[in-house]
Every structure is written in structure tokens, then in C-alpha cells.
Amino acid sequence: MSVPDGWLAYGDEQQERVGFFTDTSVCIGCKACEVACKEWNLVPEDGLVFTGESYDNTSTLGANSWRHVAFIEQEKPLRLDDEDGEPLRWLMSSDVCKHCTHAACLDVCPTGSLFRTEFGTVVVQEDICNGCGYCVPACPFGVLDKRHIPSLPATTTRVSGSEPQASERPDGRVWKCTLCYDRLKGGHEPACAKACPTDSIQFGPLDELRARADARLEKLQQENWNGVQLYGRDPDDGVGGFGAFFLLLDEPEVYGLPPDPVVTTRDLPGLWAQTALAAGAVVLGVVASFLGGRR
């Protein structure tokens, strides 16, 4: 269950599977990951809005936000043995594409634009993507989205001589985190992990990260941290384990994550069977309609 589809096909070129372990217990909500990601990957601006939702004005992952730091203010104790004062804690978590072992986006892509890299990660080839958008509702995490062609108001003034922003050029394709494929090729860690000042975002071989996460979970459990759990670490879950998994301090849904994600194509064999049977029934129905004569 836990080997990414397509990864083994690389043969000699296959590399160790890498990913992220995001330990949210040490996240300080600085958003350096969001900034570093935008800078390195030239991801366009995603609207300058003030949501009033704690310190989060990014709101969600999307075509123009490949890291998203969630902020949750809770009247709950940080540790279960905390007894003094009124309980209050502030949860922060940097969300990212999960680079699933069994990736729905990759399965459903009709052009072959989405592919499995030699590192076991999932990347969109932007020169192939035709913006059909099938991967967008296929992803159980709502990671991918179409980058729309922004309509530039006629009154917009641009600093003379400056390059047009990426967001001002026509698009219509789907974009998401590449786990910095270009940096991996050069032997570097992804920009977000490099920029993270607390090592909340840890990059490395997935096996190593899993072992590290297990140790961290055990430690925090011993210290009575409230709600501590690993999310996406299990290779037997509905997507075969995440390539980018998390240590959370509450249920996943509190962070806007699905509690039990399943790759939609797991149910596809049965779905094709129903489709074939129904197609047969169409023919039978038509044939039956000729039983009663011409009038």
C-alpha cells in the first residue's frame, strides 16, 4: 500500500522518497514559509484582504498559496495537567500539499500533466496542463486550484520599467506545491523548510521523518500535551500515507483538514463496473422499446 504509484518506474534514476514533517507544536506563526515559497517559486499575490480570522489572511491553500499558516485561538489548556488560570492556547500550523502516496490529482489528470517525480513527490507540468480542472475537486484536501486570468483595471498604474507581475499574465492552468522540485534536483531542501526558524517544517527522507515524528509524539504525550496526534503518518490510511505529514494538537478538522481522507480512485473499479453495466442497460432499454411496433 505504501509505495507511490509510478515511483518505482524510475529504475536507476529513482531517488530516496522525501517529504515534510510539519511539527505544529513548535510553529510560531511567522509565515516565513509562505514568504519563502512565494519568493522562490514566483507565486503571484493572492489578494490583499483582512479576514479578521486571528492572524490568518491567507485563508486556504490554492493556486497562489502553496503554504498556508492556520491560526486557531482556543479556550483549551495546552497541557492536560494545566490547572492554573483560564485555559487559552493558540494553535498554528503550516499547511501544504500532502504529496500523497496514492494521489487522486495524479490519477485523474487526463493529459499526464501531473506526474510522480523520482523523489516520490507529485508535480504539475505547466507546459502540458490545459486547465481542465479535474484535479481540483479530486483532491481530498482542496490543495489544487486553477490560476485565473486576472482582469487588470484600466486605471492600474505600474511602476515604469517594472516587469509585469506573474498574476497579470494569462493563465488558466492548475498550480500547486512542487516540493521545490528544482531545488531537490540541485540537492537543496525546499524553500519553506529552509526558511523555517523553529524547524517546525522538517524536510528529509520520509522514513527518517516518520521515525523522528514517532519519537516526538511519544515525548509530547509523556508531557501531557492536549490533543497531540500525528496526521498522515500512517502508510495504511486512505491515501497510503502523506509525503508531507503533520503533528497536530487537535483533530484535523479544527485545522480545516479532512478527518479521514480517501483517494477517490480507490472506488473507481466498482464505479467503472456500474458504468459498464449501465451502458449495457442503455442498449437493452433501446432494444426493448422496439418490441411494441412502429406507432
Partner: protein, 293 residues
């Protein structure tokens, strides 16, 4: 509040726009008509065969530009035929539409020119073979996503869309032909309209009370109710007077066609509504997780 993150959706709504529900209708018309036309040809009902051949080709020919127009990069539509992936109903469907539409439009052109009859028959056969899959794969297309009402409706959607497409094909032919030539088409419209209504009931029942909500509430609920009304009234009228009266046949067929178009819009919009509200994603998954713990 602990059920979601500031009430924000967990999954993304599809990016598909108005072209897609209309395509679901025209593709169903194309697929159903291809099968109906071939059956009529074999039964010796040449007028019905010809009418359905043209209707099917028209459905297929309209479908392609609709799908291309919905792409973010329409000029790259040929990338759809770059690969064939059985894990992607969109890939399979692109090939099915390509083959079926190519065959049906070839047959329609040859019918008009009255030339190369063996080639026309071969094209009709190919188009008919791919017609059933063309009418039903769109159910798999929607169900093979993380959209809760679509994915959980996966046992019924291919049947629902197959019945709807076939009812569409029957009603369209019964609309254009005098009653004395339209018997099979009319019976097909009535039977498949009933099958479609039944499939919808089964689906709404089986997905459970929570996930049936988008089919009852809001815009998608209104569309679904309007669809049921039109389909039931149209099929009823066809069954009652469609055999005797041309105007009843025209009225009944028009109602069935309108109802099947509304059905596609209802299912389409219900998917969006269920993707937008986090509870439709979170609650069933939480139940599943907690029962496994």
C-alpha cells in the same frame, strides 16, 4: 466551530462552468441517440434511424466545443489525446467522445450525401457501440471526485445519467417525428424517464439524510424538484396521449427534455453546494474515523 476552520470548505469546488451541465445533456443526447438510431436501422424504421442519427451527431458536435471552451487553456485541448488513462474518467471520456462523435458525424454526413453506404453503416455501428459508454461515463466523471454528494452517489450516478441520456434521445426523436413513426422513441422516453426518476430516488435515499440535503435545499434543490416535475409530467403526457396526438407528443417530449436538462443542472449544482459546506466533507469522514478507532 470545532467542526471546521472558520467555516471554510475543506475541499475545493470544481472550476467547471455552465458549459459542463449543458455538455452532460448534449453528451447524453449524443450517446443515447447513437444507440437508438442503430436499433431503428436494424428494425427497418428508416425515418427514426435518420432522425436519431442527425440528433446524435448534433449532440456530439456541440459537445466538443463546449468542453473545449471550459478549459483554462482551450488551445491545448489536443493534450486530452496525449495519453489514455483508465484511472481518469475524463481521459476515457475524451477518447469515447472522440471516437463516438467522429463516427456519428461521419455517418450523418454520408447520410446527407447518400454515399458510401458500407462506410456509413460501419460508422453507425462504431458510434452505437460507444454510445452507451458516452451516456454513462459522465456519471463516473462526477463520482470520481472528492465532492461528497457525487462520490457517495457513485453507485447510482452512471445509471441516473444513462437513463437521463436515453430519455433525452427518445424525447428528442419523439418531438421531431409524427406519432406513427415515433413509437419506439416515445416508449424509450417514457421508460427511461421512469428509470431516471427511480435512480434519483434511490440515490437520494442511499447517500443518507445529510448528503441528500443539497438535492432538497437551495438552488440545487429547486432545480431537482423542477426536474422531477417536468420529467414526470412529460412522461405522463407522452404515455397518455402521445400515441394519438402530435401536439401531446410535442408537449410531453419538450417537458421531458426540459426536465433532463434541469436534472443535469441540479446534480451539477448539488455538487458545488456539498463542496462549499465543510460539514458534508467532515461529518461523514469523522463518523468513519471514529468507528475505526
Amino acid at each position: 466551530m470545532s467542526d471546521s476552520y472558520y467555516g471554510r470548505p475543506v475541499i475545493k469546488e470544481p472550476t467547471w462552468t455552465w458549459e459542463i451541465p449543458i455538455y452532460l445533456f448534449t453528451g447524453g443526447l449524443g450517446g443515447g441517440s447513437a444507440v437508438l438510431s442503430a436499433a431503428a436501422r436494424l428494425a427497418g424504421n428508416e425515418r427514426l434511424a435518420k432522425t436519431s442519427l442527425y440528433l446524435g451527431a448534433a449532440g456530439d458536435v456541440v459537445s466538443a466545443p463546449l468542453l473545449i471552451a471550459d478549459l483554462g487553456r482551450p488551445e491545448r485541448f489536443l493534450n486530452m489525446l496525449r495519453v489514455f488513462k483508465v484511472t481518469s474518467p475524463m481521459s476515457v471520456g475524451s477518447w469515447v467522445l472522440f471516437v463516438s462523435g467522429g463516427a456519428s458525424s461521419t455517418a450523418a454526413v454520408l447520410e446527407t450525401l447518400d454515399r458510401l453506404r458500407p462506410v456509413k453503416y460501419l460508422a453507425e455501428l462504431v458510434s452505437a457501440l460507444f454510445g452507451g459508454p458516452l451516456a454513462t461515463y459522465t456519471g463516473a466523471l462526477l463520482a470520481n471526485t472528492s465532492v461528497p454528494v457525487w462520490h457517495e452517489g457513485r453507485h447510482e450516478l452512471p445509471w441516473l445519467f444513462g437513463a437521463s441520456g436515453t430519455a433525452t434521445a427518445g424525447a428528442a426523436a419523439a418531438l421531431l417525428l409524427p406519432p406513427e413513426e415515433a413509437g419506439p422513441a416515445r416508449r424509450l422516453a417514457i421508460g427511461c424517464a421512469a428509470a431516471e426518476l427511480a435512480a434519483m430516488e434511490v440515490m437520494q435515499h442511499r447517500v443518507g439524510r445529510l448528503l441528500a440535503e443539497p438535492y432538497r435545499k437551495g438552488l440545487s434543490g429547486q432545480l431537482t424538484r423542477a426536474s422531477k416535475l417536468c420529467v414526470a409530467a412529460g412522461a405522463g403526457l407522452l404515455a397518455w396521449k402521445g400515441r394519438q396526438s402530435r401536439s401531446a407528443a410535442v408537449g410531453g417530449s419538450t417537458l421531458v427534455l426540459a426536465g433532463e436538462m434541469l436534472l443535469r443542472w441540479g446534480v451539477f449544482k448539488a455538487g458545488f453546494a456539498s463542496a462549499r459546506e465543510p460539514k458534508y466533507t467532515v461529518l461523514p469522514q469523522r463518523q468513519r474515523r471514529d468507528s475505526n478507532r
